[in-house]
């Protein structure tokens, strides 16, 4: 009887969450359609999951930016006993050192998301530029860069990251550089493959015959045509980078304590799961939600890009 009730209860709350998410997405889309600049049609025809994804990304960004004002307690202060339960002064309880979990979740958005964004931009800057250039120039530059990337990709990413961080020392700048390097190899491969198709088109030949320089070819002729797949990859890559950072933090080589980070927060409170306390699932859930949200937006972009080609 109680089991059935509990199941019914769970189903009810899942349904409420889904309907709530759909409603929020719908309202957000309506808001965008009336307020946002540019092509109104674009926003109105946006599918609901994409609207939901954008809403979540926006909320995360706001949480990150406004963390000091939103969080009830400072990021690093010990404010109570260890492992206090949910409720009372501490909305989501405290962690193993007595820090407020809710506040740290909000600050974690700033650290984890901010660093992931910076790393992804860096990986794209390097990977896309080199990939497009390799395709446009071809010859020895293409061969040299491609083989270098093959070598880097031959080593499992996590092991390479651990190795490099151990050599260089675990710090946030080092971690950003190492993950950006590893992920830029993936971006390079995609950018090169996309650009190689474009570089074979007649209009690129026409531009070459005009005597255009390499930067013009890459920036004005190739890049605009490669932008859709690259943007889609940006979203996916952001998720992978995010997970890499969380994984490294969980292993103790990423964002260093006492800074709040969702990966290390899972590690710190992992033991609670054995007592039936869902606290360690919160930062993990925050990671999962962002990943899903970003992918919704990416899927929408991919769909639009493929529609454009018809």
């Amino acid at each position: 009887m109680t089991a059935a009730l509990a199941l019914l209860n769970a189903v009810f709350w899942i349904a409420v969450t889904l309907v709530g998410a759909a409603l929020a997405a719908w309202a957000f889309r309506a808001l965008l359609a009336t307020l946002a600049p540019g092509d109104r049609r674009l926003w109105r025809t946006m599918p609901l999951p994409a609207a939901f994804g954008m809403l979540v990304v926006l909320l995360y960004a706001l949480a990150g930016l406004l963390a000091p004002w939103l969080a009830p307690f400072p990021e690093r202060a010990v404010v109570g006993d260890a492992y206090l339960p949910w409720g009372g002064d501490f909305l989501l309880g405290t962690d193993n050192l007595g820090r407020d979990v809710f506040s740290r979740l909000i600050f974690g958005a700033r650290n984890s998301v901010g660093i992931a964004l910076l790393t992804t931009i860096l990986a794209f800057g390097v990977g896309a530029t080199l990939g497009l250039a390799a395709a446009a120039v071809g010859g020895w530059l293409d061969t040299a860069l491609s083989r270098l990337v093959d070598v880097l990709m031959a080593i499992p990413a996590l092991i390479l990251a651990l190795l490099l961080l151990t050599l260089l020392g675990a710090s946030i700048p080092n971690m950003i550089l190492v993950i950006a390097l590893i992920d830029s190899t993936r971006v390079f491969r995609l950018a090169r493959a996309v650009a190689a198709d474009i570089a074979a088109q007649d209009y690129i030949e026409a531009a070459r015959l005009r005597g255009e320089s390499l930067p013009w070819l890459v920036r004005r002729e190739i890049l605009p045509n490669a932008l859709s797949p690259l943007l889609a990859e940006f979203g996916l890559r952001f998720c992978f980078v995010f997970l890499s950072i969380s994984a490294l933090s969980f292993l103790g080589l990423g964002i260093q304590p006492p800074a709040a980070d969702w990966g290390s927060m899972v590690k710190d409170s992992a033991t609670l799961i054995t007592f039936g306390d869902p606290t360690p699932l919160l930062p993990a859930g925050a990671i999962a939600l962002l990943t899903v949200a970003v992918n919704f937006v990416v899927d929408w972009q991919l769909h639009r890009a493929s529609g454009l080609k018809e």
């Binding site: 007649d202 209009y203 030949e205 026409a206 015959l209 005009r210 005597g211 002729e221 605009p224 045509n225």
Partner: protein
């Protein structure tokens, strides 16, 4: 006996939020053993009607009203299962591009037997034996073994015949041929046409033959139906239609091959561009052997030949995309660097290329304005108002309305408009030599005619030396002052147009000339009866 009877058929396609008619209220009757030709420009609804005759519409389209009575069954109202029983079994389709329609990952035979096996008309063994028989009737080489090859291992003409064989595999009562020879050389086309005609007669099949080439339809069809933007213009027996077209539109179609160039100025002593003894190729393979010809100001030199004859390679050598191994290219007497990379900016400006496929020749992310402004700014050093004026002048030259088209993307232009913009981009550099690589072969005859007239006028106004590459001898007749005939990377015949087109011909020129379909319904029969050169 009527096999197919279409009444009041309207097919609509989705455009944004609205349904737009693609064919409107068409009636069509096809007797058993009869061939009906469907002609019209692109967008006339030929293919839509051809597919609808089999009860099929493309994704995003729907049959809005009308009846498609195929052997007593109304395919417009039929269930999916009933339709599938007809498709590929009793009605078959031969597409324009066999290369794009065969799956490159499977052998020809495996694809051939799919239909019979799916519809249960034969066992695999029977179907294979029948395929070999069909391949033999199609006069394919090595009929016993050709089925084991992959699509890329046979030539374009052979692939088109293999596809016709595949359509015959279930002995359908109706075959829809959708421009089956448009992508082929004239010498290949004549073989495919002969095969199709023979096989349709042998099996007593009915056929819809879709094409935009009037001379071809004259050979193939018993009756001709003319379509214009989804509406029927007129339908008559082939001979009556050729002798006396009733409607003004049909008359304009018939009149389309009439463009003739005004006499060009005589060649000057110093050619604008001279190709001297050029040998060039890819890797270890020579594609061009000792090729020489001149381009003179105000005159057009047509380079003609089948695919693989090296005519496009010659253009690439002149443009510097493929450096010559031996020989020289002179611009106004000065030698040009073999590779475009080492040519001076002024030399790059002097030689401009117009591409065959306007779809890949224009950057899809650049507006017409950006496309034209860049070469004008790059080579002419123009900016601001002078640049804007130059771009508008260019639009006037190609007879397009600047206000309406300057800010459009290529995807918002028709095929003919794209080709005009491609020409304007070449002119923006203010060239001396214009290389036109099959610029009309992807276009309808009426649109192509407009492009030829435009090029003709531009050449006179700008005193351009034009190298015109084509496989179509009708076009050569219309535009050329001098003709260079190429075969296997060598020049086999050259001279003034009058000289080349008047007998006695070089044997290869003779063969090319004889392969060009004429508007006479008896031409194919006659051409096949004559001994091969």
């Amino acid at each position: 006996m009527t096999l197919l009877s279409i009444r009041g058929l309207t097919v609509e396609g989705r455009q944004g939020d609205a349904w737009v008619p693609l064919v409107r209220g068409i009636d069509l009757d096809l007797q058993r053993g009869e061939v009906l030709g469907l002609i019209g420009e692109s967008g006339a609804g030929k293919s839509t009607l051809g597919l609808a005759a089999m009860g099929y519409v493309r994704p995003g389209c729907r049959i809005a009203s009308g009846q498609i009575l195929f052997d007593g069954t109304d395919l417009a109202a039929a269930t999916e299962a009933e339709r599938r029983a007809v498709l590929g079994a009793r009605a078959a389709y031969v597409a324009q591009s066999a290369a794009a329609s065969f799956n490159p990952a499977h052998r020809l035979m495996d694809q051939h037997v799919e239909g019979p096996l799916l519809h249960g008309t034969a066992t695999r063994r029977e179907a294979e034996a029948d395929a070999v028989d069909l391949y033999r009737r199609m006069r394919l080489p090595e009929p016993d073994r050709i089925g084991l090859r992959y699509p890329h291992q046979v030539s374009g003409g052979q692939l088109q015949r293999a596809m016709t064989a595949m359509a015959m595999a279930t002995r359908p009562a109706l075959i829809v041929f959708d421009e089956p020879t448009t992508a082929l050389d004239v010498t290949t086309q004549i073989e495919v046409l002969a095969t199709i005609r023979r096989i349709v007669e042998e099996f007593g099949a009915s056929a819809l033959y879709i094409t935009h080439d009037l001379a071809v339809v004259a050979q193939m069809a018993d009756r001709i139906k003319v379509l214009l933007r989804g509406d029927e213009v007129e339908e008559q027996g082939t001979r009556e239609m050729l002798a006396a077209p009733r409607e003004p539109y049909t008359k304009s179609l018939w009149a389309v091959r009439t463009h003739r160039r005004a006499p060009a100025p005589p060649p000057t002593a110093e050619p604008a561009l001279a190709v001297e003894g050029v040998t060039a190729g890819y890797g270890a393979l020579d594609v061009l052997h000792d090729v020489s010809f001149d381009l003179h100001r105000g005159r057009t030199t047509a380079v003609v030949g089948e695919s693989g004859s090296g005519k496009s390679t010659a253009a690439r050598v002149v443009a510097g995309l493929l450096p010559a191994r031996r020989g020289a290219i002179r611009l106004d007497g000065r030698p040009l660097a073999p590779s475009y990379r080492s040519r001076a900016k002024a030399d790059l400006r002097a030689v401009q290329l117009v591409y065959q496929s306007a779809d890949t020749a224009l950057n899809p992310r650049q507006t017409v304005r950006e496309t034209l402004a860049r070469p004008a700014a790059f080579h002419g050093g123009l900016s601001g108002e002078a640049l804007d004026r130059r771009v508008r002048d260019l639009m006037a030259m190609i007879e397009m309305d600047a206000a309406a088209f300057l800010d459009r993307l290529p995807s918002e232009l028709s095929g003919g408009q794209k080709q005009r913009v491609g020409i304007a981009r070449a002119l923006a550099a203010d060239p001396d030599v214009l290389i036109c690589d099959e610029v009309t072969s992807a276009l309808d005859q009426i649109v192509a005619e407009g492009i030829l007239r435009l090029l003709d006028r531009l050449q006179r106004d700008l005193d351009l030396a034009v190298m015109f590459i084509t496989h179509d001898l009708a076009t050569v007749r219309a535009v050329a002052d001098e003709v260079v005939v190429m075969k296997g990377g060598r020049i086999v015949d050259r001279g003034d147009r009058e000289r080349v087109f008047q007998p006695p011909h070089h044997p290869y020129t003779e063969r090319l000339l004889r392969s060009v379909p004429e508007m006479d319904p008896d031409w194919l029969t006659r051409a096949l009866a004559e001994p091969r050169a």
